[in-house]
Amino acid sequence: MLKTFSIGGIHPAANKLSAGSAIQALPVPEVVKVPVAQHIGAPAQPVVAKGDSVKVGQLIAQSAGFVSANVHSPVSGVVDKIEDFVDGNGYRKMAIVIKVEGDEWLESIDRSADIKREITLEPADIVKKIGEMGLVGMGGATFPSHVKLSVPQGKVCDALIINGVECEPYLTSDHRLMLEKGEEILIGVSILMKALNVAKAYVGIENNKPDAIDHLTRLAASFSGITIQPLALRYPQGGEKQLIDACIGRQIPSGKLPIDVGAVVQNVGTAYAVYEAVQKNKPLIERVVCVTGKTLARPSNFLVRIGTPVEKVIEAAGGVPDDCGKVIGGGPMMGRAFTHLDVPVIKGTSGILLMSKAESQRAEPSNCIRCAKCVSVCPMGLEPFLLAKVSAKGLLDRAEAEHIMDCIECGSCSFTCPSNRPLLDYIRLGKGKVGAILRARAAAAKK
């Protein structure tokens, strides 16, 4: 019996339409828009001005604090303007707009195809390098990677977990990356192991990707300490807490972090970016984006420069189909619909999903029938119907007592609800309010 996490979970239709299409490099667009806030934490501060010439890989925005990340130019050209643009959610956000001229890379970047296995840097230097190169979690959460690798004093990390689960339906970018860049990923994993000073790493892969499991298992034989862990199919296995439970059987107590049970989780995409950053000196300037959808002409996986308009990426896959109802950034479970398509691809854009009108529309909600399906599928062991109710009523202390902050917003409850109740919508609302109260309380306690 294959391993998986212990509570809850659902089985949405996988729909991995683009799994068979190899990663193609998308041509560099004429103009790129590079947002300064592509990560969780403080937005980076621009260090270029209008009219400056930049090369590929040049630092254009400096990280503004510990929880923040550098931003590098994904193209060579001239900075056209630094201004606010309308982001995918309709709100304004600052971006550096660069007009592309040629494709001139910084000389320090090793662009050769040679695979470099020898790790020369010391652990502290690796973490520093990862920070410098602007690496963030590539699974979609975009948490700055160097922060996760800086283990707080008094805590010990003894296991590195690599997330190759890709439990979101439709998405295949990690799958393709594992097939095509397997060795680089495993070198990246070894680098991360050295940085964290751990002897064991587990790469969790769901068994709907047998080719990736086979490929990596074969390669892992020549690496020490890396175990490829096939996992049973279940959403949301890619959640940090679920993946740790599935791979090494440790449950994280309420309100604690993975490091509290001695684990650090990184995505396979991040491991690949770590390889490129540390061995090839290449900052995070491009990523694999999966463009998919049932009615899309050619579901594909593209290697896309950061800042490329989503519109261009969709065009390369055959254009927006006529019956398209929603274009979602990320997967169907946790992704967010774009309000318009002139939005740049950012470090966390793992997929672009085009859903048909019929598929994307939410059904009319009706009353809760107390079937408790949401309770049985919640991977955090919460009571979603109750959390939604108390959040809607504004009973925030009750919501806090019911551990609303443990919700990972995976959407399993809304997915499974036979009454189509927007449970997660209300839980998020309550979570936001309770979070604000907790932060205010922490600030008051500090004083």
Binding site: V86, N89, G90, Y91, R92, R336, A337, T339, Q361, R362, P365, A392, P422, D425, Y426, R428, L429, G432
Partner: protein, 286 residues
């Protein structure tokens, strides 16, 4: 018979003992409360709306009785009338404050502001605004899910199905401010009720540059500043591409209303204008 007698005697004894214990306990743990708190609470409306910023009417009564200076506090529901009664009970001075009313600062009706997207999530403005900026091109305007309406405990707000915007019933509104807090876009403002209920306000909060705002909504303030130039009393300021009329300085001349190219400035309860707007202005000042 005997059984009944014994039962009655036992119960009577139990009751007697318990009452003696309770009497002493009550004496021991007595909490003194200023009797004035009760008196003040009796004149307060008892709606417990929280509009004063205290937890219910009792909270306000307690705060009023304890404070040396009550000029900063007040019941928005009862207004000056109730506060003068409170002042009489407490023997304290109370500053007269002008009655206020909630004003919706958005005129993005379905006709003025075309809908570009379709939101099918939970019907709540707070949730919608957390997801995205809104169904129209304006990221500042009303979302139309009616969080303000459900927040109002006085039935003073309702959604106009034709415009998709909330409408304030000036007679029912007590300016408790619950809707102001409920609106995630900060559209609703408490403004002076004005003489004869006459009010002038800029019905837009869009901070986008003029062209962008105009493209999203034909009734948007484009920050052109014409109204500010027209105003002889310095009541209008334009900041972040949006005009704001300071109701404490406004003399209700209505010149700005006529000057606004997008008709973003609204007037309420004024007599109809004469043919020439310039002549109507001095009349309105009376």
């Amino acid at each position: 018979m005997n059984v009944v007698l014994i039962t009655v005697i036992v119960l009577a004894l139990l009751g007697g003992v318990a009452s003696i214990i309770l009497y002493f306990v009550a004496q021991k743990f007595k909490v003194f409360e200023d009797p004035k708190i009760g008196e003040v609470e009796a004149v307060l409306p008892g709606a417990n709306c929280g509009g004063c910023g205290f937890p219910g009417c009792h909270g306000l009564a307690e705060a009023l009785s304890k404070a040396d200076d009550i000029s900063g506090m007040g019941c928005p529901v009862g207004g000056a009338e109730v506060m003068s009664k409170v002042a009489a009970i407490l023997g304290k001075e109370v500053a007269a404050s002008a009655p206020k009313v909630a004003v919706v600062r958005c005129n993005g009706t379905c006709a003025n502001r075309p809908r570009l997207l379709n939101y099918d999530g939970a019907r709540s403005c707070a949730i919608q605004s957390a997801h995205f900026a809104g169904e129209t091109g304006c990221s500042f305007g009303c979302l139309g899910c009616g969080d303000c309406v459900s927040a109002c405990t006085f039935g003073a707000l309702g959604m106009d199905p034709e415009t998709g915007l909330p409408v304030v019933d000036g007679d029912k509104c007590v300016a408790c401010g619950a809707c102001v807090k409920a609106c995630p876009k900060g559209i609703i403002e408490l403004r002076n009720k004005g003489p004869k209920d006459r009010r002038i306000w800029v019905s837009c909060v869009n901070k986008d540059k003029g062209a962008v705002a105009r493209k999203a909504c034909s009734a948007a303030c484009i920050g052109c500043g014409k109204c500010a130039k027209e105003c002889a009393f310095g009541a209008i300021t334009v900041e972040n591409n949006v005009a704001y009329i300071d109701f404490t300085k406004c003399k209700m001349c209505r010149k700005c209303v006529a000057a606004c190219p997008t008709h973003a400035i609204h007037e309420l309860n004024f007599p109809p204008r004469k043919a020439e707007p310039a002549e109507a202005a001095p009349e309105a000042r009376n």
